[in-house]
Symmetry: C2
Subunit: 204 residues, 2 copies
Amino acid sequence: VNGFRQRFRDQVRDEVKDVALTQLAEGGVEAVSINAIARALGVSGPSLYRYFASRDALLTELVVDAYADLEAAVSGAADLSAFATRFRGWALAHPARYRLLFAAPPEGRDEVPDAIIDASVALMRTLVPLIGAAAPAPPAALRAELERWARCRDLDVSPAVGLRAVLAWSRLHGFVSLEIEGNFASMGLDADKLFAAELAVLDA
Amino acid sequence: VNGFRQRFRDQVRDEVKDVALTQLAEGGVEAVSINAIARALGVSGPSLYRYFASRDALLTELVVDAYADLEAAVSGAADLSAFATRFRGWALAHPARYRLLFAAPPEGRDEVPDAIIDASVALMRTLVPLIGAAAPAPPAALRAELERWARCRDLDVSPAVGLRAVLAWSRLHGFVSLEIEGNFASMGLDADKLFAAELAVLDA
DNA sequence: TGTACATCAGTGAACGCGCGTTCACTGATGTAC
DNA sequence: TGTACATCAGTGAACGCGCGTTCACTGATGTAC
C-alpha cells in the first residue's frame, strides 16, 4: 500500500501542531513560529513547508481544530447550564486557544476561511436546542435578520430562540473572557461563585 | 522659566503617542514599534528613548490613557443604559484600544502596574451607582469577597449591588467584544438591534 | 551684557536577535517492470 | 528477484526584513555669574 508515506505525513503534521499548541499556550499567537517549531523537532526550518503551505495555513488549522475540540467538549450537554459549564471549562483549560477563537480572528487576514465559519456554526447548532422556547418575538427588522441567518446556516430555530441563543452566547463569552484574562482574580473574587450567579440568569 | 524644555518634551511625547495610536489602530499591539514611530516622525530610532524608557513603558501609557478616555466617555451617564451605550460607543470608535484594555493585559508582563489598576477601578466607580439597589444577597462566601473588594477599592457598595455591577460589566464586555471582532456582522445581524435587546436585560 | 558652563535632544553605528520564505540540491524510500 | 526510475523528505545557503536597545558622540539650548 502507498498509505505508508501518507501515514507518516499525518504523524509529522500532528507533531508540528502539538509543538505549535505549546508555543501558543506559552506565548500567544505571535509566539507560533515555523522556525522555532522546526528547531523543537530537531529539523531545519524550511522542511516544514513540506507539511504546511505557510504559517498562516498552520494557524488556520489550529483554529479549526480548536473549534472542533470546543464543540466536542460542549456537545451532549443536556441543558444551557451544562453547556455553559462545559464551555467555560474548555476555555479555562485552553485559554490561549480560546483567545485564538474569539479574541483575535482578524489577525491580518481579510477573508474568513470557510472551514472556520463551518466550525463556528457547529457550535451554534449545539447551543440552539438548549434554549427555552418561550420568549417575546423580536422586533420585525431583527426578526427578519434572524430568520435569514437561521435559513443560511440551516438552523431549525425561531427568531425568538435565535435571539436568546445569541445573547446567551454573548454573556457567556463576556464572563469567560474576563475570567481568562484574570480580571476577577485581580478583584479578589472567586470566579466559580460568580459563575454560579451568572448561570442563574444566563437565559434571560 | 525653565518650563520651555518641559513643554517641548510633553509635546513630543504626545506626538509619539499619537503615532503609536495610529499603529495600534491599524495593526494591533504588535504593530506598535519604536523604530517605526521614529521613522514616521522623521527622527532616528534611539532618540525616542529620551522620552520613553522602553517600548513597554510606552504601551503602559497607552493603556492608562485609554482607561482615562473610556472613563471620560462613560462618566456622567445617568443610568445603566446610558453607561452601556457610551461604553459600547467608545469601544466601537476605538476597537484596538478596547482590545488593549480587555483582551490582552498580560502581554508578557507579570505584574500589573498600579496606574492600570487605579484606572480600572475608576471605571467601576462610575458603574456602581447606576445599579438598581434591590437584589437578593449573594451567598455568604461570595458576599465576604465582595465586601473585601469594596473595602479595598474604597467603593461604597453593598455586596448585592457589587455582584450585579460585576455581572453587568461582564455581559456588556461580552457583547462589545463579540461585536468589535465582527461576530454579529458575520452572522448578518444588526448589532444595534441586538444591543437594544440586550440592554433590556443587562441588569438582571 | 557677555562669557563659561551644564544640560540634554538627537545622531549613527553597532549588537544580537528573530522571522517567513525561496531555491537548488542530496539522498533515501517506495514503485513498476 | 533484481534493477531502473519516480517520488519526495529534508538540507543549507541565501534574501530581505524588522525589531529593541546601548553607546559614544555632536551640537544646540538654556543657565549662572
